[in-house]
């Protein structure tokens, strides 16, 4: 029987951190267990031998380590109790939640005894369970074939990983292919972007570990046990890539001309075309929306590569992890009519200017206005759609537009020194080495005006840009014959779509959200999915590549290390399960699905919250690890040590709340000794029967804390309200139960809440006496 189990208690002095405040002799005298020992530093390597020897010598079944927080050393001691099951060990946190928060030695000692006793009762209820190791498939899908996706794919492929690169358009290359010239802050010179991109493109094409699928999109995704099943829809190219030799004869005989999107619509292309000179796959493609199926190309093609009757295909791709590199798009100028973009041909964007100045662009690199003349004065307007709280604007700074404007201004000045370039800015943002490039731009006689133009109007042959020179405090009307708008970067349609399909969190601006913006870059809210490039936020080429390689490295970590999962998850009794599916809809973490003829629970997403238990009329679901009994035993263990006139408040917290509570101790703040914190796997597992039992058997108050970011938050809040009502109907005071938000960084707030609740309970005790 569980009561006959032999328990050993190992008390750590923590080099005085614990023993200076807590009288360990008194603790030892008060406990009735099969072994009890006191050690200076139990977590040191010789702790392993001490614990193992005691387990063998005293034939121990269970171990309690009274030391620091399990957040610090649970893993260490789970390892030290081998060959016992790791879950046959429990830690009584007598440091962060006792010696560090209390100064009254007598009370702290009393509390330590209670905490250890609760651990003893709890550990007796523990079942042997093993951590679940999940190994995910090695294959990776990279979604998006721009500079970020290409680099992520290459990095993984060079490490021996099979990668499928999925690109929506007919060619990989992304924005960088059309950017024209690029520069880096270290080199004070602009260089050919395509010349830098091409070697990467070639390397990628020749790498045997990479399969490139163009004209393709992920349209559905499902995850099972760490494997993603992606349904990919491949639009027809209408040209057989294996036969086409890209001779271009088809295009010559095609009669249809439409604006060339690769040149931002500044030139025309045929309905059968090659996106750009170095595009991959090296084959033509038919734009079927504009094709009139005249058959000229079909007849002209010697290679018999034209396939006018192709149909879209769907294919299944199974991968273990995914890298999102779905990129950005530029701000839609329809939203800012005051700058006249739609009305005037010579009001253009920086992207269009990049095409015009590109040698492979519509004017073969000549800077010309729509009438064929070289502009005399170009005014550039910064922050169009960025740093803009107006409707459809973006509050963020798009980060690269300052340097893009400087680059394009320099390119113009090199070739057309007589063209006056004036940049109207709010702030010039050129951090680090970019500042040197800013100075270089000033040396090139590019002019700057600090002020944000309100409108661009046409006056005669020229434009008038209305702006305040804010440094002079003067209203200015500047004549110009070309206006260039530095438009904001925003999430691409593909980025928004894939976030929805994969159920990944996005930021308020629609970019893919990282799971922690400070210390967990490139990881998303979903395990096994990583992000890089401008799908994550506005950034330049270098930063996109850095993020891409970081994402690739994270995938490798994931592939090599596997994933260890705590085993306290739901399990289905197949004998009892009738496949009604009621549990599936209840699961907030979407971890349940029907696979074949059984309900499948994904161990990687189940949190063991127990919500499904309630939904199951057949009582076919249980959560591993005897959680319910362990919570009850802990409550009993705490309350059994209650003395007359002692106030006891039970606080239930999950990992997040518990960490916040630890932080109170780490920062040496304090709260009343009446606070007893019980760590639970999921706050939802604290049931009404636990709360009723506690209040009926001596607990003066119950405090339940939950992190508002937890998917079960609303559920738990509702549940606590319900329990309050039942408490009231049982003629007890519902005020003795409280529910509160907890946040890891807001530990001082949590300490204050403990103090306030303790005071309230003290008052209630006096009133109800």
């Amino acid at each position: 029987m569980r009561d006959d189990l032999k328990v050993g208690v190992f008390i750590c002095e923590c080099g005085g951190n614990i023993s200076d405040t807590i009288d360990l002799d008194e603790v030892k005298d008060s406990l009735d267990v099969d072994f009890i020992g006191q050690f200076e530093n139990l977590c040191s390597l010789n702790g392993r031998k001490i614990i193992r020897d005691a387990i063998f010598d005293h034939d121990l079944d269970r171990v309690v380590v009274a030391a620091c927080s399990p957040i610090s050393h649970e893993k260490t001691f789970q390892d030290y109790v081998k060959p016992l099951n790791p879950y046959f060990m429990d830690m009584a946190n007598v440091r962060e939640q006792c010696s560090w928060v209390h100064s009254d030695k007598k009370k702290a000692t009393q509390k330590a005894i209670t905490l250890i006793n609760a651990s003893i009762e709890k550990v007796k209820q523990s079942d042997a369970v093993d951590p679940i190791y999940c190994q995910t498939p090695d294959e990776v899908a990279v979604i998006g074939g721009g500079i970020a996706g290409m680099n992520a794919a290459l990095s993984l492929a060079k490490q021996g990983t099979k990668v499928t690169l999925i690109e929506q358009s007919p060619s990989i290359g992304g924005h960088m292919a059309k950017i024209g010239k690029v520069f880096s802050p270290v080199k004070i010179a602009e260089e050919c972007g395509m010349c830098l991109l091409n070697p990467i493109l070639n390397e990628l094409v020749w790498n045997e570990n990479i399969e490139v699928i163009t004209n393709a999109k992920v349209i559905e995704a499902e995850r099972r046990s760490g494997t993603y099943n992606l349904i990919i829809e491949k639009s027809p190219r209408y040209v057989d890539v294996d036969r086409c030799i890209a001779c271009g004869k088809c295009s010559e005989v095609c009669d249809i001309e439409v604006p060339n999107d690769w040149n931002d619509g500044l030139s025309m292309r045929k309905a059968i075309y090659r996106p750009f000179g170095q595009s991959y796959p090296e084959a033509y493609v038919i734009d079927m929306e504009n094709c009139d199926k005249c058959g000229n190309c079909f007849r002209e093609c010697n290679m018999k590569a034209i396939r006018l009757k192709s149909k879209p295909e769907k294919m299944l791709l199974q991968v273990g992890s995914i890298i999102l590199a779905t990129g950005h798009k530029l701000f839609d100028m329809d939203k800012r009519p005051e700058y006249g973009y739609d009305r005037y041909d010579d009001v253009i964007t920086q992207s269009e200017l990049g095409r015009i100045t590109g040698v492979n662009g519509p004017t073969k690199g000549k800077l010309l206005k729509s009438n064929g003349e070289v502009p005399k004065r170009i005014v550039m307007i910064q922050c169009v759609g960025s740093r803009d709280e107006k409707p459809d604007g973006h509050r963020y700074c798009s980060r690269i537009c300052c340097t893009v404007a400087l680059k394009n201004a320099n390119i113009i000045k090199h070739k057309y020194p007589d063209t006056d370039v004036l940049i109207c800015y709010t702030d010039i943002r050129t951090p680090g080495m970019f500042e040197k490039y800013y100075k270089h731009t000033q040396e090139n006689e590019v002019r700057f005006l600090r002020g944000r133009p309100g409108e661009v109007v046409k006056k005669g042959d020229n434009f008038i840009v209305r702006v305040e020179d804010t440094l002079k405090g003067e209203f200015a009307e500047i004549e110009a014959d070309m206006v260039v708008l530095s438009t904001a970067m925003e999430p691409s349609h593909g980025t928004r779509e894939i976030a929805e399909i994969l159920n990944i969190g996005t930021t308020e601006d629609g970019f893919i959200k990282e799971s922690h913006p400070k210390i967990k870059p490139v990881t998303t809210d979903v395990q096994g999915i990583f992000v890089c490039g401008t799908a994550q936020d506005p950034k330049d080429i270098t930063e996109s590549i850095m993020q891409a390689t970081a994402a690739a490295s994270k995938v490798s970590e994931y592939n090599y290390g596997g994933v260890e999962i705590e085993p306290f998850i739901a399990e289905i009794d197949r004998e009892k399960c009738t496949l009604c599916g009621d549990c599936i809809g209840k699961c907030k973490y979407k971890s349940m699905s029907i696979q074949g003829d059984e309900v499948y629970i994904d161990p990687m997403s189940c949190t063991g919250c127990g919500k499904c238990l309630v939904a199951c009329t057949q009582r076919a679901i249980s959560v591993n690890g005897n959680i319910d009994e362990k919570i009850m035993a802990t409550i009993k263990g705490v309350l059994s040590k209650k003395e007359d006139n002692q106030r006891m408040i039970l606080v239930f917290l999950d990992n997040i709340g518990y960490t916040a509570a630890d932080n109170i101790g780490v920062n040496r703040l304090s709260y009343p000794e009446s606070i007893y914190i019980i760590k639970v796997h999921s706050v939802n597992r604290v049931g009404p029967h636990h709360i009723h039992y506690a209040l009926e058997n001596g607990a003066d108050g119950v405090f339940i804390g939950e992190f508002p970011g937890d998917l079960m938050y609303d559920e738990v809040e509702r549940k606590v309200d319900k329990v309050k009502n039942t408490i009231a109907s049982l003629n007890q005071n519902p005020e003795r139960l409280t529910f509160s938000k907890v946040y890891i960084p807001y530990f001082s707030g949590l300490a204050r809440k403990f103090i306030d609740f303790d005071k309230k309970i003290e008052e209630l005790n006096e009133i109800e006496l």
Partner: protein
């Protein structure tokens, strides 16, 4: 010129007072101003006078209370362009109204509102805001044909089969006058009128 900022000075208080004014609908907008000048670049008053909406916010953020003594704050005529173009969601137009009210409360620029007292009178006489007669000549100069149009308004409406304009009847006028008297509006405008007529 050097401005001295003592350790006890708190220039931000002025902006805080404006934020908490009932006329301010843009919450913390004033504090978020980056002095980009977009308001000034679109402001008709700025184009035709020394009025500079960006500078208004600059001086408010500096805690410069003398701004309420400036003549040019009276050049804003509430077109709300600055309000609609501001990239940080500020409204100079509203701030301007708050400043003008502050000026009035401090008995500054009463001569500026003296010209407009006719509007106030029309609430007592007709229970609606109407253009005071003293402006008629000027309007006719600015908008040629306006006077003739106004003279013939009844005929024009008739021709277009429109009903005569709906005007409040005497009960309503009495009631509105009573409200304006009880709430102290009447006393206020009389005080302003007297002060200006005394000067004359």
């Amino acid at each position: 010129m050097t401005t001295q900022q003592k350790i006890t000075d708190s220039p931000i208080d002025f902006a805080e007072d404006i934020i908490h004014d009932v006329k301010n609908s843009r919450e913390e907008g004033v504090l978020k101003c980056v002095q980009c000048g977009m308001c000034t670049s679109t402001c008709p008053a700025a184009r035709h006078s020394d009025y500079n909406p960006r500078e208004i916010i600059e001086r408010v953020l500096d805690g410069d209370l003398t701004i309420i003594e400036e003549d040019n704050i009276w050049n804003c005529f509430y077109c709300y362009t600055c309000h609609s173009v501001c990239p940080v969601g500020n409204s100079v137009c509203e701030v301007n109204q708050i400043l003008k009210q502050l000026a009035i409360n401090n008995e500054i620029a009463w001569d500026k509102i003296y010209e407009y007292l006719g509007f106030a009178d029309s609430y007592f006489n007709a229970a609606i805001g109407a253009i005071p007669e003293i402006f008629f000549t000027q309007i006719d100069e600015d908008v040629p044909g306006w006077w003739e149009f106004r003279q013939n308004l009844a005929d024009i409406r008739d021709e277009l089969n429109l009903d005569p304009p709906l005007l409040p009847d005497d009960d309503v006028i009495d009631e509105v006058s009573l409200i304006l008297t009880i709430t102290g509006f009447k006393e206020k405008i009389e005080k302003i009128r007297d002060s200006q007529e005394d000067i004359k």
